[in-house]
Symmetry: C2
Subunit: 367 residues, 2 copies
């Protein structure tokens, strides 16, 4: 049943030319007489010839395929970023191999290996360990074109595209402060070791040490923005207001936020550091019977579709997700084509969407 594949050899034979010539017209490079060209093409389409990219790739050393390592392709953030990448890739007639790391180093390593064995022309990765990723460094050293997306890795000087996390978080939190809030909760993932890292981080942030923030994961950066806004306003931080969820999970966030909201001295506003945290926080807010912004003001990092119509609308720091993917693809393709020169680190600016989820703290007279 399996129809025998027609190869270039058969096309050449039937067209009465050499394989070399057939190859030249079918791959359209090099010279070929008009008549020859026509004949070969006619035979090829008649026979239903389909070039074998494996053979082509083996010999040219290019597969016209890139590999992508995302955290979780089903999350709205990565799904949109991937779409941006995909658009860039498809527009160039290239292909895209996709993997998930689930923010796990072991899986990221496995993915890197698999992708390299597949001879991808380049890699776009959202590294899960921003401090030390030997497998990525090795790949970069081996000369495989690579661009980092959403985050960077300390000591890895390669192209990257990320988002202004610190500045835009600082701005978002500042808006809450301007509205009069003094007890603002922050909900962030912060990894498993947050309880140890947090005191150090708070201490160093206190000095206004800003440099180290670039060497840290996005959720820490956004927390950094929160701290910076408070420092700008010369306000102390109450560590009890920092909810470190510890995992990428909406339901974990929901539990932690609920606990905070049931506290007697609960915050009058919340800043959520990513989409998962926002979903969890919103669920907790509803579960506690609180309404936004009357009982609680809210600013969320990353714009999810429901933020447009929940309550009176939720203020969001909207990341240019698709553009993130597009830009990464453009950088990668340039490198694949041989672009030299030092690493380019693009930083895209999110847009603040003001929808009305910020009100003065409850009990404040508006008069």
């Amino acid at each position: 049943m399996k129809a025998a594949k027609v190869t270039i050899v058969e096309v050449a034979a039937k067209a009465g030319v050499s394989v070399a010539t057939a190859s030249r017209v079918l791959g359209n490079y090099g010279y070929a007489g008009a008549k020859t060209k026509e004949r070969v093409e006619a035979v090829a389409s008649e026979l239903g010839y389909r070039p074998n990219k494996l053979a082509r790739g083996l010999i040219t050393g290019q597969t016209r395929t890139i590999g992508v390592i995302a955290g979780d392709i089903s999350s709205p953030f990565y799904a949109a970023v991937l779409r941006g990448i995909s658009d860039g890739v498809e527009a160039r007639g290239m292909s895209m191999l996709i993997t998930n790391s689930d923010e796990t180093v072991a899986r990221e390593i496995a993915a890197t290996k698999l992708l390299r064995e597949n001879q991808v022309d380049g890699l776009i990765v959202s590294p899960c360990d921003v401090m030390d990723s030997p497998h990525l460094k090795e790949a970069a050293a081996a000369g495989i074109p690579m661009v980092l997306i959403d985050r960077k890795v300390t000591g890895l000087q390669i192209d990257s595209v990320s988002v202004e996390n610190i500045e835009s978080s600082r701005d978002g939190v500042a808006r809450l402060l301007w509205a009069g809030h003094r007890r603002i909760g922050v909900v962030a993932e912060l990894g498993r070791t947050a309880s140890q890292d947090l005191p150090k981080f708070l201490a160093s942030a206190g000095q206004g040490g800003r440099t180290n923030l670039n060497a840290v994961s996005t959720s820490w950066q956004r927390l950094g923005g929160y701290l910076a806004a408070h420092r700008d306003a010369q306000l102390e931080i109450d560590p009890a207001l920092i909810v470190h969820v510890g995992e990428h999970s909406a339901s974990a966030a929901q539990q932690s936020v609920r606990a905070l909201l049931e506290t007697p001295d609960r915050p009058t506003a919340l800043f959520c550091a990513d989409g998962l945290m926002s979903s969890g926080a919103m669920a907790a807010i509803v579960a506690c019977g609180l309404s936004v912004p009357d009982d609680l003001s809210l600013v969320c990092f990353d714009d999810l579709d429901w933020m447009a119509f929940v309550g009176s609308g939720i203020d969001a720091i909207a990341q240019p997700r698709r553009r993130l993917g597009k830009a990464a693809t453009a950088l990668l393709i340039a490198r694949i084509k041989g672009a030299k020169g030092r690493a380019r680190n693009l930083k895209l600016r999110p847009r603040y969407l003001s929808r009305g989820s910020i009100a003065p703290p409850p009990g404040t007279s508006t008069a």
Copy 2:
């Protein structure tokens, strides 16, 4: 800079064995002496040998890569389905090439071509034309393993995994009817030619002709369920209540729904046929200042994360999206491994999530 790739030839040479032997231990098939094996493996890891899957694929005729054609990988539905596929694929050490069709035949054809040139071992596709897809039929006839997901193509007898659209829509709408609603709006995409197709469809559905519903796109099937529920209850259909949006777009849905809701004789309940329709409808409901379920009851096909906390929660017909992908992958891999026999058509059953968005129609006395 580009580190020369180490091939099996070098490994063999340095280990003092033939390429054949090196190949046998590195690909681990065939016999190899314990000592030889050890030595070859040592040298391979020392040299950082990385098998070239192109060469391997060229000769074995298997790439251990599958191709996926989705509508839009950034939509929550496809994103989750893809994750299901991805899990199945990664668990077997295989890879996955992903493309978007944007529900466009031309792009689907291009994707099929590209994927086949990449010599994928099989294809999972969500076909955008359920009536006639010669490119898919050709691929199937050529013997490439393929499974259809979410929808089927008339006249293409191959494996498929879809969802019980008709039955579960019928059930969802029935719940609205039980609650006393008599004017229930339905919001569905239905394609560009809906205005012509609708009268015919209504007429044939009137006869209880059920067979043709399998040969129709998911949004038509869900409309079919709506009609069936009304037929069960012996109620007439008011065509004015059928909102055919015409495109896969939340904002288009929002506009159409808004128009319906601003009508003097507006419905007391809404049934939304997919996620995009639901987002649009919800935005329209909020824009009109209506509240769910007091002013309007609501049932949505496909469960989006916000439905858990918007208002008092929105009833949803939750599709097993990830399972859809997993099941498709399992079927595909079985075929790739050579499973024969007639096409299997899996139909997964959604779960109805009752959250409280159904109330009696406004003005009904509960007493």
